[in-house]
């Protein structure tokens, strides 16, 4: 959403400033002109040719509601503006030889739902319609425009729901023969459309252009008070007095002669990011022809051959616009008798790879600053390009080797491999055992939902890209292929058949939800090769600017190596998770259940830790390696040692510093691993749930007294309000301090920390309005002062390693807030390091 709008008092303005032409507006104020109007005025001022028009200011909206009808002075002004527009364009409203057609659109100072959509081609009466047919030499075109206008006006201004299908126009025109008289065509089309409205008991479309215009303007004003618009304003605290402006703009014709045409261009390729104009152009056509697909447009390069001067004009204007807006633009244009008009200029949507290429190219071209280049990329785009995909070589082999059994419509992107399931219940059961499942259905119904949720990928024999199955798959973010029409599913035999190929339930298959390909067998998922040099460069820039350290969670050698390859500051690991990867894990757990806090009961723990951490340290090289000590209270380590049993039978394991021997054993194990790996890494062991300086002191003493652990650091994980408030004192005792945000939030809500990891139960609960903050996606205000306390300790002890552990998907906003508070050390989940680095880089102000 755009921020809170500025509201200026317009009531004091004279009647003369009710309306503003684009080219003589005395103000550029959004509050007066609305967002769209201000944009058009600003474009006109900077020399970009837009079709002339004028704006009814937001003050007109007030007047309209005050008077309860169109005020007469406003009607006079509209008339005067119309006359001026006729003179400026050399066209005539509601007449020939060159009819003036208008577009009418709403333009509130802030964008909001519920406002009136655009009405195009307004101004057609019989005289204007005949003139249009004569001028374009194309009666069919006139019929199209008239039909479309009538439908659009009915739908948007009159709120008629049931508008005729475009195919019905053919039926209307058929009796008139091949070369019909324009007047007859006008009558036939108009009468058909009007009588349809009359049959339904609807109001008719006014015949006279001036009335069409005034009524459309009134409809814009009324849309300010649709239920949705009102609710939206109340929710976003937008004042109801603000009102909406109305933009009235002349339409230009791209089909007058061979010197005319229309098109859509991007200032760079939005799919690849490659520099140079990208888009389509259609000579002697209106924009609607391109949209309707009635004629196939040419690549934009064709314009250079047809109208070289206009092409030059387009190229240079687009380049200039790109430089001034510092953005890739999406532009609609029309050429009327050799004159280029810009209909719409907006920021171009782009794919994630394009966004990366564009940001680096803009940097190289000197178009943007380092700061601005980082703002051009989102964390979601970084996640997208890092998502694993099929190994390209295997895909080629699979295609060549006949493994591609079906090609449907790619409805939701993503490359997945899994076991085929033909029934939603069986899909759920298989997914529960930890299997990856591809659910295949002939058709999908609401009763398949649970199966679709459980599956990794979905394929259907029927349906198109806009079927229920496709919609559900996209909403779930699951890979989906629909419309595999050759596929036959036999639910009795539990087979999926394509021609001679028979795939049984439980067999492996692979889906590509972008290309729509279905393969038999498995395909290996790999991280995109050459993890993109351009992205690497942007992330490096982000890290340089933020000066922040990002550590990533790692449990395996591959994850540690990846962190090193990504140039991260270090890794964080949980000792319990690393233990769990050992074959001797259950033995370790059994050994801990000894009756006393004895050295002997921890010797196996020490041995296995030494064994497991050796390869990890070897892979880490000089990376920092911060290890969370085994936490018997919060980690769900073993059924034997659940929270209740521990407190009664092994109370010393329940508290962070409860067992000196347990801490010693972990320190010794880690220390042995470090020596075995010959690593230079800075290792630290950090118990969790610490909240007192005395605990930290005890920890430091245990380590200090232990021989051979000189190179190992100690630290703490703070998980409580008490711990956060004591951060300063704790930091004086130990080398490393982590604040664990999720656990702290959970503690503030008095909820188990697990609840913050899954959608249920919190999302549904808070969507009922029962919690003002959902701790899964925002920092609660009660936590903010605690973060401030920790941030204070950071600024007071710059040499201490005080950081924050953020689990789950990071959000740009959260990371930005933490950075602003003074946090400079972050530990994030696997896969979230690059997004976090970008978010940190983006959080740095423009001036630095």
């Amino acid at each position: 959403m755009t921020g809170q709008p500025e509201v200026t008092d317009t009531t004091a303005q004279s009647v003369a400033s009710f309306t503003f032409a684009f080219d003589d507006a005395s103000t550029g104020d959004k509050a007066v002109l609305g967002g769209k109007g201000a944009g058009l005025v600003s474009m006109t001022r900077s020399g970009i040719r837009v079709p002339p028009g004028y704006i009814l200011s937001t003050a007109c909206c007030h007047e309209y509601f005050l008077a309860g009808a169109m005020p007469s002075n406003l009607l006079k002004e509209i008339e005067a503006r119309l006359t001026a527009l006729e003179a400026q364009t050399g066209k005539q409203f509601g007449a020939g030889p060159t009819p003036l057609l208008l577009s009418v659109r709403s333009g509130a100072p802030v964008s909001m739902p519920g406002m009136m959509d655009t009405v195009l081609n307004l101004g057609l009466n019989k005289a204007a319609a005949i003139a249009l047919a004569t001028l374009t030499g194309n009666t069919r075109f006139m019929a199209d425009v008239l039909f479309r206008f009538h439908s659009m006006y009915s739908e948007i201004v009159l709120d008629v729901l049931d508008i005729p299908d475009s195919a019905e126009l053919d039926v209307v025109l058929e009796p008139l023969g091949d070369n019909p008289d324009p007047a007859a065509v006008y009558d036939a089309v108009w009468d058909f459309c009007q009588s349809r409205l009359a049959d339904m008991g609807e109001e008719e479309v006014p015949q006279e252009p001036r009335e069409q215009l005034v009524r459309a303007i009134e409809a814009v004003f009324r849309s300010w008070n649709t239920r949705r618009a009102i609710t939206y304003r109340e929710l976003h605290r937008i004042p109801h007095e603000m009102g909406t402006a109305v933009v009235v703009q002349s339409m230009v014709f791209g089909n007058l002669d061979q010197q005319s045409g229309s098109g859509v261009v991007f200032s760079r390729d939005p799919v690849t990011g490659e520099p140079g104009l990208f888009g389509e152009f259609l000579s002697a056509s209106q924009g609607e022809d391109v949209v309707a697909g009635t004629r196939t447009p040419d690549p934009i390069a064709r314009l250079e051959k047809v109208l070289p001067a206009t092409f030059e004009d387009l190229t240079s204007t687009v380049a200039r616009l790109e430089r001034t807006s510092q953005d890739v633009l999406d532009i609609e244009f029309t050429i009327e008798r050799g004159v280029l008009y810009f209909l719409q200029v907006r920021s171009a949507k782009r794919t994630a790879p394009a966004a990366i290429r564009i940001a680096t190219d803009f940097l190289d071209e000197g178009t943007v600053s380092d700061h601005a280049a980082l703002q051009m990329l989102s964390v979601e785009q970084v996640r997208q390009v890092q998502r694993p995909g099929f190994d390209p070589a295997e895909v080629r082999e699979a295609r060549d080797g006949g493994q591609r059994v079906a090609e449907g419509i790619g409805a939701s992107p993503g490359q997945v491999t899994g076991f085929l399931s033909l029934d939603p219940d069986r899909a759920v059961a298989a997914a529960k055992t930890g299997q990856h499942v591809i659910l295949a259905r002939q058709v999908t119904s609401p009763t398949d939902l649970h199966g679709m949720i459980a599956a990794d990928g979905i394929m259907t024999a029927t349906g198109g890209a806009t079927s229920h199955a496709a919609v559900v798959a996209r909403a779930l973010g699951k890979s989906c292929v629909v419309g595999c029409s050759d596929v036959v599913i036999d639910s009795t035999l539990k087979t999926l058949r394509v021609g001679d190929v028979v795939i049984r339930e439980g067999d492996a298959i692979s889906l590509d939800g972008a290309t729509g390909e279905v393969f038999t067998g498995t395909l290996t998922l790999t991280r995109p090769a050459a993890a993109d040099k351009q992205l690497e460069r942007l992330l490096k820039l982000a890290s340089e600017r933020s000066g922040a350290q990002v550590l990533v969670r790692a449990t395996t050698v591959e994850q540690v190596s990846a962190a090193k390859a990504d140039g991260l500051a270090g890794v964080v690991a949980a000792a319990a998770e690393v233990l769990a990867t050992s074959r001797r894990f259950s033995d370790v757990m059994a050994s801990l259940s000894a009756p006393e806090d004895q050295a002997s009961s921890f010797s196996l723990l020490e041995d296995v830790l030494a064994e497991q951490f050796t390869p990890l340290f070897a892979a880490a090289g000089d990376l920092e390696f911060s290890i969370r000590a085994v936490d018997f209270l919060t980690d769900k380590i073993s059924d034997v040692l659940d929270t209740r049993t521990i407190a009664v039978e092994y109370p010393y394991l329940a508290m962070p510093l409860g067992s000196t021997e347990c801490i010693r054993a972990q320190l010794r194990g880690i220390s042995r691993a470090a020596q075995a790996a010959g690593s230079t890494t800075r290792v630290s062991l950090c118990p969790r749930n610490v909240s007192d300086a005395a605990e930290a002191r005890a920890l430091a003493r245990i380590k200090g007294e232990l021989e051979g652990a000189e190179d190992i650091g100690v630290g703490v994980y703070l998980t409580s309000a008490r711990g956060a408030l004591a951060a300063c004192d704790l930091a004086d005792e130990v080398n490393v301090v982590w604040l664990e945000l999720r656990l702290l939030q959970a503690a503030m809500f008095g909820l188990p920390a697990d609840y913050l990891l899954t959608r249920e139960p919190l999302d549904r609960y808070s969507s009922r309005g029962l919690l003002s903050v959902n701790p899964r996606d925002s920092v609660d205000p009660s936590v903010t002062p605690l973060l401030a306390a920790v941030a204070r300790s950071i600024s007071e002890r710059p040499a201490s390693r005080i950081g924050i552990r953020v689990s789950g998907e990071i959000s740009e906003r959260l990371i930005g807030e933490l950075y602003a508070q003074g946090f400079r050390r972050f530990a994030v989940d696997s896969g979230e390091a690059s997004p976090a680095r970008l978010a940190l880089g983006k959080a740095v102000g423009a001036a630095t």
């Binding site: 609401p446 079927s467 909403a475 549904r764």
Partner: protein, 206 residues
């Protein structure tokens, strides 16, 4: 068992369970508008007919549930199926349904140079336009539902549920547009579509 013909309340309750695949008594009350006590007695009747299994608070349909619904709707809606107003409504629904799925798809994905990319909902102007269209389509569907409600009042619950989902969307809970795990506009629409097909005795073709 396929010959089982259910009474009105039993049908409404079983229909909801079958559509949702799993429903609590409270959820059934909400979706059917049937009073809590009547839902409970319908549930126990359905259990003894072997059409429903109840585990804890949740009821699930058994294998014979859908055949029983089909058999019952063949009788219950025989007149409705040949009613010209209903047939016209069903034809109009096909058109609105197509428009609706297109709008929801544009809500999820944006066309960029011939490639679909996920809508990240950062362009409020784009989103606002789609939500305005969605509003109109839901309003239009509710008009169509009225044709059914005049003949069987149970359909009126869909209008209530749409209004509620819509309030959530307006309040900024955008997941209520198409999330499959909550009472989103698309979920309610999907259920209505299935219900309509069963009511009319038609097959889903996609």
């Amino acid at each position: 068992m396929t010959d089982t013909v259910l009474d009105t309340t039993q049908y409404d309750v079983l229909n909801t369970i079958a559509l949702k695949k799993m429903a609590s008594a409270q959820g059934i009350v909400d979706a059917t508008g049937v009073a809590q006590g009547d839902v409970m007695s319908a549930l126990s009747a359905l259990q003894s007919l072997g059409l429903v299994a109840t585990i804890g608070d949740q009821s699930l349909p058994m294998d014979d549930a859908v055949p029983a619904l089909v058999a019952t709707s063949n009788e219950r809606y025989a007149a409705l199926r040949i009613d010209p107003a209903v047939r016209e409504m069903a034809d109009k629904f096909e058109v609105v349904n197509g428009q609706f799925l297109t709008v929801i798809s544009s809500w999820q994905q944006i066309d960029v140079g011939g490639r679909k990319i996920t809508n990240d909902h950062t362009d409020s102007e784009y989103d606002d336009k789609i939500l305005s269209r969605l509003d109109k389509l839901v309003a239009r569907l509710i008009q169509l539902i009225d044709v059914l409600s005049e003949r069987d009042i149970r359909f009126d619950r869909y209008a209530v549920r749409f209004a509620r989902a819509n309030d959530q969307v307006v309040a900024g809970n955008l997941a209520y547009v198409s999330s499959p795990t909550i009472e989103s506009v698309h979920n309610i629409w999907f259920e209505f579509h299935e219900d309509l097909l069963r009511t009319l005795g038609r097959e889903r073709n996609e």
